[in-house]
Protein backbone atom coordinates (compact mmCIF):
# COMPACT_ATOMS: atom_id res chain seq x y z
CA UNK A 1 0.00 0.00 0.00
CA UNK A 2 1.42 3.33 -1.03
CA UNK A 3 1.70 6.61 0.84
CA UNK A 4 0.53 9.85 -0.74
CA UNK A 5 2.78 12.89 -1.10
CA UNK A 6 1.15 16.27 -1.66
CA UNK A 7 3.36 18.36 -3.95
CA UNK A 8 3.28 22.16 -3.50
CA UNK A 9 2.74 24.48 -6.47
CA UNK A 10 6.38 25.60 -6.83
CA UNK A 11 7.53 21.99 -7.34
CA UNK A 12 4.81 20.78 -9.70
CA UNK A 13 6.84 21.73 -12.75
CA UNK A 14 9.07 18.81 -11.73
CA UNK A 15 6.20 16.36 -11.24
CA UNK A 16 4.48 17.05 -14.58
CA UNK A 17 1.92 19.10 -12.66
CA UNK A 18 0.95 16.13 -10.52
CA UNK A 19 -0.41 17.28 -7.18
CA UNK A 20 -0.54 13.87 -5.48
CA UNK A 21 2.27 11.39 -5.94
CA UNK A 22 2.36 7.89 -4.45
CA UNK A 23 5.50 6.44 -2.89
CA UNK A 24 6.38 3.14 -1.19
CA UNK A 25 9.03 4.44 1.22
CA UNK A 26 9.17 3.53 4.91
CA UNK A 27 10.52 6.88 6.14
CA UNK A 28 10.45 10.53 5.08
CA UNK A 29 14.10 10.32 4.04
CA UNK A 30 13.35 7.35 1.82
CA UNK A 31 10.32 9.12 0.40
CA UNK A 32 12.49 12.07 -0.65
CA UNK A 33 15.00 9.67 -2.24
CA UNK A 34 12.20 7.93 -4.11
CA UNK A 35 10.82 11.25 -5.34
CA UNK A 36 14.33 12.15 -6.55
CA UNK A 37 14.57 8.89 -8.56
CA UNK A 38 11.29 9.61 -10.28
CA UNK A 39 11.52 13.38 -10.54
CA UNK A 40 15.22 14.23 -10.83
CA UNK A 41 16.11 17.57 -9.27
CA UNK A 42 13.42 17.57 -6.61
CA UNK A 43 15.80 16.58 -3.80
CA UNK A 44 17.97 19.69 -4.05
CA UNK A 45 14.82 21.79 -3.76
CA UNK A 46 13.96 20.12 -0.47
CA UNK A 47 17.34 19.48 1.11
CA UNK A 48 20.32 21.78 1.59
CA UNK A 49 24.00 20.94 0.98
CA UNK A 50 24.26 19.10 4.29
CA UNK A 51 21.27 16.89 3.50
CA UNK A 52 18.99 18.62 6.04
CA UNK A 53 15.50 19.81 5.11
CA UNK A 54 15.80 23.40 3.87
CA UNK A 55 15.01 26.22 6.29
CA UNK A 56 11.89 27.38 4.46
CA UNK A 57 10.47 23.93 3.70
CA UNK A 58 8.02 22.31 6.10
CA UNK A 59 7.24 18.60 5.81
CA UNK A 60 4.20 17.10 7.52
CA UNK A 61 3.05 13.52 8.06
CA UNK A 62 -0.71 13.44 8.55
CA UNK A 63 -0.62 17.14 9.47
CA UNK A 64 2.19 16.80 12.05
CA UNK A 65 5.44 18.70 11.39
CA UNK A 66 8.31 16.19 11.09
CA UNK A 67 10.39 18.45 13.32
CA UNK A 68 8.03 17.39 16.14
CA UNK A 69 8.54 13.76 15.08
CA UNK A 70 11.85 12.23 14.00
CA UNK A 71 12.71 14.55 11.10
CA UNK A 72 13.79 12.53 8.08
CA UNK A 73 13.79 9.31 10.14
CA UNK A 74 10.06 9.73 10.75
CA UNK A 75 8.38 6.45 9.72
CA UNK A 76 5.49 6.50 7.29
CA UNK A 77 2.96 3.72 7.04
CA UNK A 78 0.34 2.72 4.52
CA UNK A 79 -2.31 5.32 3.94
CA UNK A 80 -0.26 8.16 5.47
CA UNK A 81 -0.30 11.52 3.75
CA UNK A 82 2.90 13.52 3.46
CA UNK A 83 2.62 17.27 2.74
CA UNK A 84 5.45 19.52 1.62
CA UNK A 85 4.64 23.15 2.31
CA UNK A 86 6.60 26.40 2.10
CA UNK A 87 6.73 28.46 5.29
CA UNK A 88 4.32 31.40 5.13
CA UNK A 89 4.01 34.74 6.83
CA UNK A 90 2.09 35.60 9.93
CA UNK A 91 -1.28 37.01 10.52
Amino acid sequence: MPKKVRIPTPLRKLTNNEELVEVNAATIGEAIAELQRRFPGIQERLLDDTGAVRRFVNVYVNQEDIRFLQNQQTPVKDGDEISIIPAIAGG
Binding site: R45, R55, D65, A87, I88, G90, G91
Partner: protein, 411 residues
Protein backbone atom coordinates in the same frame (compact mmCIF):
# COMPACT_ATOMS: atom_id res chain seq x y z
CA UNK B 1 9.15 48.24 -7.99
CA UNK B 2 11.56 46.46 -10.28
CA UNK B 3 11.16 42.72 -9.57
CA UNK B 4 10.73 40.08 -6.91
CA UNK B 5 13.94 38.56 -5.60
CA UNK B 6 14.65 35.50 -3.44
CA UNK B 7 16.18 36.48 -0.11
CA UNK B 8 18.15 33.25 -0.03
CA UNK B 9 19.65 32.78 -3.50
CA UNK B 10 18.94 36.11 -5.25
CA UNK B 11 17.05 34.64 -8.22
CA UNK B 12 14.65 37.22 -9.68
CA UNK B 13 10.99 36.77 -10.60
CA UNK B 14 8.38 38.97 -12.32
CA UNK B 15 6.02 41.09 -10.17
CA UNK B 16 3.15 38.56 -10.04
CA UNK B 17 1.24 36.85 -7.23
CA UNK B 18 3.98 34.49 -6.13
CA UNK B 19 5.73 34.24 -2.82
CA UNK B 20 8.42 31.60 -2.69
CA UNK B 21 11.48 30.90 -4.77
CA UNK B 22 10.88 27.88 -6.96
CA UNK B 23 14.39 26.76 -6.29
CA UNK B 24 14.85 26.83 -2.51
CA UNK B 25 11.46 28.01 -1.16
CA UNK B 26 13.14 31.18 0.14
CA UNK B 27 10.81 34.17 0.59
CA UNK B 28 10.59 36.65 -2.29
CA UNK B 29 11.06 40.33 -1.65
CA UNK B 30 10.27 43.41 -3.72
CA UNK B 31 13.27 45.18 -5.31
CA UNK B 32 13.13 48.98 -5.65
CA UNK B 33 15.08 51.48 -7.69
CA UNK B 34 16.47 53.52 -4.80
CA UNK B 35 18.49 55.84 -7.00
CA UNK B 36 15.32 56.96 -8.70
CA UNK B 37 13.31 57.17 -5.50
CA UNK B 38 16.02 59.32 -3.93
CA UNK B 39 15.40 62.02 -6.57
CA UNK B 40 11.72 62.47 -5.69
CA UNK B 41 11.11 61.27 -2.13
CA UNK B 42 12.40 64.13 -0.02
CA UNK B 43 11.13 65.52 3.29
CA UNK B 44 9.11 68.49 1.96
CA UNK B 45 7.37 66.24 -0.57
CA UNK B 46 6.41 63.74 2.14
CA UNK B 47 5.27 66.54 4.47
CA UNK B 48 3.04 68.04 1.79
CA UNK B 49 1.05 64.82 1.44
CA UNK B 50 -1.99 63.61 3.44
CA UNK B 51 -1.23 62.10 6.85
CA UNK B 52 -1.58 58.44 5.91
CA UNK B 53 0.90 55.63 5.31
CA UNK B 54 0.67 56.38 1.59
CA UNK B 55 2.78 59.52 2.00
CA UNK B 56 5.70 57.08 1.56
CA UNK B 57 4.15 55.39 -1.44
CA UNK B 58 7.34 55.24 -3.54
CA UNK B 59 8.57 52.70 -0.95
CA UNK B 60 5.35 50.65 -0.99
CA UNK B 61 4.84 48.00 -3.69
CA UNK B 62 1.93 49.17 -5.81
CA UNK B 63 2.39 50.14 -9.46
CA UNK B 64 -0.24 52.88 -9.66
CA UNK B 65 -2.25 54.83 -7.11
CA UNK B 66 -3.47 52.79 -4.10
CA UNK B 67 -7.13 51.82 -4.46
CA UNK B 68 -7.70 50.15 -1.09
CA UNK B 69 -7.18 51.71 2.33
CA UNK B 70 -5.92 55.13 1.37
CA UNK B 71 -6.73 56.47 4.84
CA UNK B 72 -4.67 53.88 6.70
CA UNK B 73 -1.79 54.75 9.01
CA UNK B 74 -0.14 57.84 10.49
CA UNK B 75 -1.30 56.74 13.92
CA UNK B 76 -0.20 58.75 16.98
CA UNK B 77 3.30 58.45 18.40
CA UNK B 78 2.72 59.21 22.08
CA UNK B 79 5.38 60.54 24.44
CA UNK B 80 4.74 58.12 27.28
CA UNK B 81 6.24 59.92 30.29
CA UNK B 82 4.14 58.22 32.96
CA UNK B 83 4.87 54.75 31.63
CA UNK B 84 8.54 55.72 31.26
CA UNK B 85 8.68 56.49 34.99
CA UNK B 86 7.02 53.22 35.88
CA UNK B 87 9.36 51.24 33.64
CA UNK B 88 12.39 53.20 34.78
CA UNK B 89 13.61 54.58 31.47
CA UNK B 90 14.45 58.16 30.47
CA UNK B 91 12.50 58.55 27.25
CA UNK B 92 9.65 56.37 26.05
CA UNK B 93 7.31 56.59 23.07
CA UNK B 94 4.32 54.45 22.17
CA UNK B 95 3.51 53.97 18.50
CA UNK B 96 -0.22 53.57 18.89
CA UNK B 97 -1.64 51.31 16.20
CA UNK B 98 -4.55 50.40 18.49
CA UNK B 99 -6.29 53.22 16.64
CA UNK B 100 -5.21 52.37 13.13
CA UNK B 101 -7.93 52.82 10.52
CA UNK B 102 -10.25 51.02 9.85
CA UNK B 103 -9.85 47.80 11.87
CA UNK B 104 -7.79 48.91 14.89
CA UNK B 105 -4.53 47.07 14.31
CA UNK B 106 -1.30 47.48 12.35
CA UNK B 107 -2.62 44.87 9.91
CA UNK B 108 -4.49 47.60 8.01
CA UNK B 109 -1.06 48.68 6.79
CA UNK B 110 -0.22 45.36 5.18
CA UNK B 111 -3.73 44.70 3.93
CA UNK B 112 -4.14 48.03 2.14
CA UNK B 113 -0.96 47.26 0.22
CA UNK B 114 -1.88 43.62 -0.46
CA UNK B 115 -5.41 44.42 -1.65
CA UNK B 116 -4.34 47.41 -3.76
CA UNK B 117 -1.77 45.16 -5.43
CA UNK B 118 -4.28 42.29 -5.73
CA UNK B 119 -6.60 44.60 -7.65
CA UNK B 120 -3.78 45.67 -9.93
CA UNK B 121 -3.17 41.99 -10.69
CA UNK B 122 -6.86 41.48 -11.48
CA UNK B 123 -8.07 39.47 -8.45
CA UNK B 124 -11.67 39.75 -7.28
CA UNK B 125 -11.48 37.33 -4.32
CA UNK B 126 -9.07 37.85 -1.45
CA UNK B 127 -8.25 35.59 1.48
CA UNK B 128 -5.94 35.14 4.45
CA UNK B 129 -4.81 32.81 7.21
CA UNK B 130 -5.05 34.75 10.42
CA UNK B 131 -4.69 34.80 14.19
CA UNK B 132 -7.49 37.40 14.17
CA UNK B 133 -6.28 40.92 13.42
CA UNK B 134 -5.40 40.15 9.82
CA UNK B 135 -8.81 38.53 9.31
CA UNK B 136 -10.51 41.67 10.68
CA UNK B 137 -8.51 43.89 8.39
CA UNK B 138 -8.99 41.78 5.26
CA UNK B 139 -12.74 41.57 5.98
CA UNK B 140 -13.11 45.32 6.54
CA UNK B 141 -10.93 46.53 3.68
CA UNK B 142 -12.34 43.97 1.23
CA UNK B 143 -15.87 45.07 2.11
CA UNK B 144 -15.03 48.72 1.47
CA UNK B 145 -13.34 47.80 -1.81
CA UNK B 146 -16.14 45.52 -2.99
CA UNK B 147 -13.94 42.41 -3.02
CA UNK B 148 -15.09 38.94 -1.95
CA UNK B 149 -13.22 37.77 1.18
CA UNK B 150 -12.50 34.39 2.73
CA UNK B 151 -10.74 34.44 6.07
CA UNK B 152 -9.37 31.36 7.82
CA UNK B 153 -8.82 31.49 11.58
CA UNK B 154 -8.23 29.05 14.45
CA UNK B 155 -11.71 28.08 15.69
CA UNK B 156 -10.89 29.03 19.32
CA UNK B 157 -10.19 32.76 18.71
CA UNK B 158 -11.48 35.50 20.99
CA UNK B 159 -15.12 36.29 20.26
CA UNK B 160 -14.28 39.94 19.60
CA UNK B 161 -12.01 38.96 16.75
CA UNK B 162 -14.52 36.55 15.26
CA UNK B 163 -17.41 39.05 15.30
CA UNK B 164 -15.05 41.69 13.91
CA UNK B 165 -14.65 39.60 10.77
CA UNK B 166 -18.22 38.37 10.40
CA UNK B 167 -19.81 41.79 10.60
CA UNK B 168 -18.28 42.87 7.28
CA UNK B 169 -19.87 39.97 5.45
CA UNK B 170 -16.67 38.00 4.97
CA UNK B 171 -16.76 34.20 4.71
CA UNK B 172 -15.19 33.17 8.02
CA UNK B 173 -13.86 29.64 8.23
CA UNK B 174 -12.87 28.43 11.72
CA UNK B 175 -10.26 25.67 11.59
CA UNK B 176 -10.12 23.19 14.43
CA UNK B 177 -6.43 23.62 15.14
CA UNK B 178 -3.82 26.26 15.96
CA UNK B 179 -2.57 28.94 13.58
CA UNK B 180 0.23 26.84 12.13
CA UNK B 181 -2.37 24.31 11.02
CA UNK B 182 -4.54 27.07 9.53
CA UNK B 183 -1.46 28.28 7.72
CA UNK B 184 -0.64 24.87 6.33
CA UNK B 185 -4.17 24.40 5.05
CA UNK B 186 -4.15 27.86 3.48
CA UNK B 187 -0.89 27.14 1.69
CA UNK B 188 -2.66 24.16 0.13
CA UNK B 189 -5.83 26.11 -0.67
CA UNK B 190 -3.81 28.97 -2.16
CA UNK B 191 -2.15 26.53 -4.53
CA UNK B 192 -5.52 25.31 -5.72
CA UNK B 193 -7.79 28.37 -6.03
CA UNK B 194 -7.14 31.54 -7.96
CA UNK B 195 -7.44 33.86 -4.98
CA UNK B 196 -5.18 36.57 -3.67
CA UNK B 197 -4.11 35.14 -0.30
CA UNK B 198 -2.64 38.22 1.33
CA UNK B 199 -0.10 36.34 3.45
CA UNK B 200 0.57 33.52 1.02
CA UNK B 201 0.85 34.38 -2.69
CA UNK B 202 0.64 38.17 -2.01
CA UNK B 203 3.17 38.02 0.81
CA UNK B 204 6.01 39.95 -0.87
CA UNK B 205 3.69 42.96 -1.29
CA UNK B 206 1.77 42.45 1.95
CA UNK B 207 4.85 42.30 4.15
CA UNK B 208 6.23 45.59 2.79
CA UNK B 209 3.22 47.45 4.20
CA UNK B 210 4.69 46.99 7.69
CA UNK B 211 7.55 49.32 6.80
CA UNK B 212 5.15 52.26 7.03
CA UNK B 213 5.09 51.85 10.82
CA UNK B 214 8.85 52.47 10.92
CA UNK B 215 8.72 55.35 8.42
CA UNK B 216 6.11 57.07 10.58
CA UNK B 217 8.14 56.54 13.76
CA UNK B 218 11.15 58.24 12.15
CA UNK B 219 9.14 61.17 10.80
CA UNK B 220 7.16 61.64 14.02
CA UNK B 221 10.38 61.64 16.07
CA UNK B 222 11.58 64.57 13.94
CA UNK B 223 13.38 62.53 11.28
CA UNK B 224 15.50 60.37 13.53
CA UNK B 225 15.81 56.65 14.15
CA UNK B 226 15.09 55.72 17.80
CA UNK B 227 17.90 54.15 19.84
CA UNK B 228 15.69 51.21 20.83
CA UNK B 229 12.54 49.77 19.26
CA UNK B 230 10.60 46.95 20.91
CA UNK B 231 8.50 44.97 18.45
CA UNK B 232 6.12 42.06 19.14
CA UNK B 233 6.95 38.91 17.18
CA UNK B 234 4.55 36.37 15.74
CA UNK B 235 6.04 35.33 12.39
CA UNK B 236 8.80 37.90 12.97
CA UNK B 237 7.88 39.80 9.81
CA UNK B 238 7.06 43.17 11.44
CA UNK B 239 10.41 43.25 13.24
CA UNK B 240 12.35 42.67 10.02
CA UNK B 241 10.32 45.32 8.19
CA UNK B 242 10.80 47.91 10.93
CA UNK B 243 14.54 47.48 10.50
CA UNK B 244 14.16 47.68 6.72
CA UNK B 245 12.27 50.97 7.07
CA UNK B 246 15.12 52.39 9.17
CA UNK B 247 17.65 51.20 6.59
CA UNK B 248 15.70 52.67 3.68
CA UNK B 249 15.20 56.10 5.26
CA UNK B 250 18.87 56.20 6.16
CA UNK B 251 19.91 55.13 2.67
CA UNK B 252 17.66 57.79 1.10
CA UNK B 253 19.08 60.51 3.35
CA UNK B 254 15.74 61.07 5.11
CA UNK B 255 17.24 60.22 8.50
CA UNK B 256 20.86 60.51 9.68
CA UNK B 257 22.99 57.37 10.11
CA UNK B 258 22.90 56.23 13.71
CA UNK B 259 23.25 53.18 15.90
CA UNK B 260 19.96 51.56 16.80
CA UNK B 261 18.75 48.34 18.41
CA UNK B 262 15.65 46.38 17.41
CA UNK B 263 14.34 44.11 20.17
CA UNK B 264 11.76 41.33 19.86
CA UNK B 265 8.93 40.44 22.25
CA UNK B 266 7.09 37.12 22.56
CA UNK B 267 4.80 35.36 25.02
CA UNK B 268 6.45 32.57 27.01
CA UNK B 269 3.71 30.21 25.85
CA UNK B 270 4.87 30.66 22.26
CA UNK B 271 8.47 31.85 22.23
CA UNK B 272 10.41 30.02 19.52
CA UNK B 273 12.28 33.15 18.37
CA UNK B 274 12.96 34.54 21.84
CA UNK B 275 14.19 31.15 23.07
CA UNK B 276 16.62 30.89 20.17
CA UNK B 277 17.86 34.47 20.62
CA UNK B 278 18.52 33.96 24.33
CA UNK B 279 20.41 30.74 23.57
CA UNK B 280 22.53 32.56 20.97
CA UNK B 281 21.23 30.40 18.11
CA UNK B 282 20.55 31.62 14.57
CA UNK B 283 17.75 29.10 14.02
CA UNK B 284 14.66 28.28 16.05
CA UNK B 285 12.83 25.14 17.05
CA UNK B 286 9.09 25.16 16.28
CA UNK B 287 6.74 25.00 19.28
CA UNK B 288 3.05 24.33 19.92
CA UNK B 289 1.54 27.58 21.18
CA UNK B 290 -0.22 27.96 24.52
CA UNK B 291 -0.71 31.61 25.47
CA UNK B 292 -3.42 34.24 25.91
CA UNK B 293 -1.52 36.33 23.35
CA UNK B 294 -3.27 34.55 20.51
CA UNK B 295 -2.35 37.15 17.92
CA UNK B 296 1.30 36.15 18.48
CA UNK B 297 0.65 32.40 18.69
CA UNK B 298 2.66 31.21 15.70
CA UNK B 299 4.79 28.19 16.58
CA UNK B 300 6.55 27.97 13.22
CA UNK B 301 7.44 31.61 12.49
CA UNK B 302 8.17 32.05 8.80
CA UNK B 303 10.46 35.05 9.33
CA UNK B 304 11.96 33.77 12.57
CA UNK B 305 15.32 33.21 10.96
CA UNK B 306 15.48 36.78 9.62
CA UNK B 307 14.19 38.26 12.87
CA UNK B 308 17.08 36.57 14.71
CA UNK B 309 19.46 38.00 12.13
CA UNK B 310 18.11 41.54 12.57
CA UNK B 311 18.44 41.36 16.36
CA UNK B 312 21.99 40.08 16.02
CA UNK B 313 22.96 42.77 13.50
CA UNK B 314 21.46 45.63 15.51
CA UNK B 315 22.57 44.41 18.94
CA UNK B 316 18.95 43.86 19.88
CA UNK B 317 17.65 41.34 22.38
CA UNK B 318 14.55 39.19 22.72
CA UNK B 319 12.60 38.08 25.73
CA UNK B 320 9.22 36.61 26.60
CA UNK B 321 6.61 37.09 29.30
CA UNK B 322 4.02 34.94 31.06
CA UNK B 323 0.27 35.41 30.69
CA UNK B 324 0.26 37.19 34.08
CA UNK B 325 2.95 39.60 32.90
CA UNK B 326 0.98 40.17 29.67
CA UNK B 327 -2.05 41.28 31.70
CA UNK B 328 0.16 43.52 33.85
CA UNK B 329 1.58 45.09 30.68
CA UNK B 330 -1.93 45.78 29.37
CA UNK B 331 -2.87 47.39 32.70
CA UNK B 332 0.27 49.53 32.94
CA UNK B 333 -0.15 50.91 29.43
CA UNK B 334 -3.82 51.64 30.11
CA UNK B 335 -3.26 53.16 33.58
CA UNK B 336 -0.28 55.29 32.58
CA UNK B 337 -1.13 56.36 29.04
CA UNK B 338 -4.84 55.77 28.48
CA UNK B 339 -4.12 53.26 25.74
CA UNK B 340 -5.97 49.95 25.84
CA UNK B 341 -3.93 47.43 23.89
CA UNK B 342 -4.66 43.84 23.06
CA UNK B 343 -2.56 41.03 24.49
CA UNK B 344 0.30 41.59 22.04
CA UNK B 345 0.63 45.12 23.49
CA UNK B 346 0.89 43.59 26.96
CA UNK B 347 3.66 41.36 25.64
CA UNK B 348 5.55 44.36 24.27
CA UNK B 349 5.27 46.38 27.50
CA UNK B 350 6.15 43.33 29.63
CA UNK B 351 9.22 42.52 27.57
CA UNK B 352 10.31 46.18 27.55
CA UNK B 353 10.17 46.08 31.35
CA UNK B 354 12.38 42.98 31.43
CA UNK B 355 14.87 44.48 29.00
CA UNK B 356 15.09 47.70 31.05
CA UNK B 357 15.38 45.91 34.41
CA UNK B 358 18.14 43.67 33.07
CA UNK B 359 20.01 46.61 31.52
CA UNK B 360 19.71 45.33 27.96
CA UNK B 361 17.95 48.65 27.39
CA UNK B 362 20.00 51.18 29.42
CA UNK B 363 17.84 53.37 31.70
CA UNK B 364 19.22 56.55 30.15
CA UNK B 365 18.25 55.68 26.57
CA UNK B 366 15.25 56.41 24.35
CA UNK B 367 12.76 53.67 23.46
CA UNK B 368 9.82 53.23 21.09
CA UNK B 369 7.25 50.51 21.80
CA UNK B 370 5.27 49.20 18.83
CA UNK B 371 1.74 48.62 20.10
CA UNK B 372 -0.06 46.84 17.32
CA UNK B 373 -3.67 46.08 18.23
CA UNK B 374 -6.71 47.23 20.22
CA UNK B 375 -7.70 45.81 23.61
CA UNK B 376 -11.41 45.81 22.81
CA UNK B 377 -10.71 42.83 20.56
CA UNK B 378 -9.29 40.61 23.30
CA UNK B 379 -11.58 41.36 26.23
CA UNK B 380 -11.70 37.63 27.02
CA UNK B 381 -8.06 37.79 28.09
CA UNK B 382 -8.60 40.42 30.77
CA UNK B 383 -12.22 40.05 31.88
CA UNK B 384 -12.28 39.71 35.67
CA UNK B 385 -8.56 40.55 35.92
CA UNK B 386 -8.67 44.34 35.77
CA UNK B 387 -10.74 45.40 38.74
CA UNK B 388 -14.48 45.03 39.24
CA UNK B 389 -17.62 47.13 39.22
CA UNK B 390 -19.25 48.00 42.58
CA UNK B 391 -23.03 48.06 42.33
CA UNK B 392 -25.26 50.26 44.47
CA UNK B 393 -28.84 51.46 44.40
CA UNK B 394 -29.40 54.96 42.94
CA UNK B 395 -29.08 56.43 46.41
CA UNK B 396 -26.66 59.07 47.68
CA UNK B 397 -26.60 57.37 51.07
CA UNK B 398 -25.34 54.12 49.54
CA UNK B 399 -22.70 55.97 47.57
CA UNK B 400 -21.46 57.76 50.66
CA UNK B 401 -21.41 54.47 52.54
CA UNK B 402 -19.31 53.00 49.76
CA UNK B 403 -16.82 55.88 49.91
CA UNK B 404 -16.68 55.75 53.71
CA UNK B 405 -15.96 52.02 53.51
CA UNK B 406 -13.14 52.65 51.03
CA UNK B 407 -11.68 55.35 53.29
CA UNK B 408 -11.55 52.81 56.08
CA UNK B 409 -9.89 50.29 53.80
CA UNK B 410 -7.25 52.69 52.49
CA UNK B 411 -6.64 54.48 55.83
Amino acid sequence: MKALKCRECGREYPLTATHVCEFDFGPLEVVYDYNRIKQSLIRPVIQSRPQTMWRYRELLPVAGEPTVGFQVGFTPLIKADRLARRLGVRELWVKNDTVNYPSLSFKDRVVSVALSRARELGFTTVACASTGNLANSVAANAAAAGLKAYVFIPADLEQGKVVNSLVYGAEVIGIKGHYDEVNRLCAEIAGKYGWAFVNVNMRPYYAEGSKSMGFEIIEQLGWRVPQHTVVPMASGSLLTKVQKSYQEFTKLGLAPETTYHVHGAQATGCAPISTAQKAGLDFFKPVKPNTIAKSLAIGTPADGFYALKVMKETGGAADDVTDEEVREGIRWLAECEGVFAETAGGVTVGVAKKLIVSGRIPANDSVVLCVTGNGLKTLDAVVGQVGRTREIKPSLREFEALLAHEDRVTA
